[in-house]
Amino acid sequence: MLIIDCPFCGPRDEREFEYCGPYRERRPDNMDNLSESDFIDYLLVPENPEGVGQEFWWHKRGCGEWLLVVRDTRTHQILSTVEADAE
């Protein structure tokens, strides 16, 4: 079980969170400059690292914030947890 250190609530166990998919950039603003194939690539091709990757977790049964978690997919060790919109 993961222990996710919510920057607002402190360390809480995985039961309180919902996994919300791998990190990706915000949907591009300027769609006119984007080719169809680039947009489909943006929509469909996720990060799939065997190693360190970033993903969204929602503190659903806690403060309700979205968090950006950096986690190693080989060990499930969490390296950092920040508010998703902070950067």
Partner: protein, 416 residues
């Protein structure tokens, strides 16, 4: 290939079983092959077998990172079924289930294949609607999926004492899929390996492929392995769960994510369940092996994973769900548990396809791909040999994603 039979068993017993010949032959790794298959799991070995058997390709090698039967082919819960929803999927899975039924004979290897029937336990109305729809579509293609009453479910599965009217989710309906079956997973890997080896296929264990190699004109050149470079005009990736690790090395971008799926096995007990029980609303399914153990499966770990372990939360949820329906199982001890890495496409349908790199083929996105091994191998071999997709898998190509023509498949039971 030494033929396995009652006669050979008796004959070998006179020499204390010391003189059996090896099931597959070990070779030195060559520099060139006609076809390189990466991954010695069910799909890779079956593909090699059908390439040699049907298409007469002689010079094939299978390169396996670990040992034969160390991947998902021997980590799964062996549920074989064809109750899918899409017209693209059902004929493919019907074919695969049929092939399994004759496979022990074809491979001369006892797969302990056992047709069991699978019973789906329905506890919510949305699931009931979905399942009725599946029934109508399956009917068109000739797969069987029939409603049964709750009392009939309880008659066929006497240990199913939970899910009554006073429970959180009372059982409201059930479906029987008589084609549902189980068999012995290692035997599938070993059987295909032995049959392929006897047709001249070279199997190399402990031969991890680190990257794919391309020629200057963009076509595939071969692979770079821990034992040096190996070249071929045709390279087939069948590495279940690790596909993007290889395709990334040539910049091929694929819509796949990898997850950890786990299984739990109880101590062996006397026969008490002779069907595969699937409870989609609670997210647990189980069957009993010939040895008497319960094999229990549940949901994947949340979040992408290559860990091949078990998650305490998934364990609690799976076992908790099982005890809601089978309260007497709380006395059982669980003996073993493990995980496996499987990858999945956004529409939950498989990919059997050529790629933008000429000569490079992939078979991937096998979430419930154990049942698919015979037909998956057959159709992938056809693609590699003829460069055209097999009739049964012509929809499962990569170009569907270019146009977002998803084959959304809820029959691939998962919520990721």
């Amino acid at each position: 290939m030494e033929k396995y039979s009652l006669y050979s068993l008796v004959r070998n017993s006179f020499t204390q079983h010391r003189d059996w010949s090896p099931a597959w032959i070990t070779h030195d790794l060559k520099k060139n092959y006609d076809v390189i298959i990466i991954g010695g799991g069910g799909h890779g070995l079956a593909t090699a077998y059908y390439l040699a058997k049907i298409h007469g390709v002689a010079n094939i090698t299978v390169l396996e990172r670990g040992w034969l039967g160390g991947g998902n082919v021997a980590r799964n819960t062996v549920t074989i079924r064809s109750n899918y929803l899409r017209q693209e999927s059902i004929p493919f899975f019907i074919k695969s289930v049929e092939m399994y039924e004759g496979l022990s004979k074809e491979l001369n290897f006892n797969l302990m294949h056992s047709r069991r029937s699978m019973i789906d336990i329905i506890q919510t109305y949305p699931k009931l609607r979905e399942i009725k729809r599946k029934m109508y579509v399956m009917d068109i293609f000739g797969a069987t999926y029939k409603p049964i009453s709750v009392s009939e479910i309880r008659r066929r599965i006497p240990t199913l004492a939970g899910g009554g009217n006073d429970s959180r989710l009372p059982i409201i309906a059930g479906m029987v899929h008589p084609e549902g079956a189980v068999n012995r997973h290692d035997a599938v890997a070993w059987g295909y390996a032995r049959a392929a080896s006897s047709l001249g296929v070279e199997i190399h264990q402990n031969t991890k492929v680190n990257s794919l190699l391309r020629n200057d004109d963009g076509t595939i050149r071969g692979v770079s392995t821990v034992k040096g470079d190996v070249l071929a005009d045709r390279v087939a990736v069948a590495v279940s769960g690790h596909t993007t690790q290889l395709t990334d090395t040539v910049g091929l971008r694929l819509p796949l994510r990898s997850f950890n799926l786990s299984a739990f096995v109880s101590e062996p007990v006397k026969p008490m369940i002779d069907v595969v029980v699937n409870c989609p609303d609670l997210g647990v399914y189980l069957s009993q092996t010939a040895k008497g153990e319960l094999v229990i499966g549940g949901a994947p770990d949340p979040g992408q994973s290559f860990r091949r372990g078990t998650n305490q939360l998934v364990f609690e949820r799976t076992v908790g769900a099982m005890l809601e329906l089978f309260p007497s199982f709380k006395k059982l001890k669980l003996l073993r548990q493990w995980g496996g890495t499987v990858d999945i496409a956004p529409d939950a349908s498989p990919i059997i396809s050529e790629t933008e790199i000429p000569g490079l083929y992939i078979t991937a996105g096998w979430w419930g791909g154990y049942k698919a091994i015979p037909a998956g191998g057959l159709t992938f071999a056809n693609l590699i040999a003829t460069n055209t997709p097999h009739q049964l898998t012509k929809s499962f190509t990569l170009d569907r994603f270019e146009t977002l023509d998803y084959i959304l498949e809820p029959g691939t039971t998962t919520r990721v």
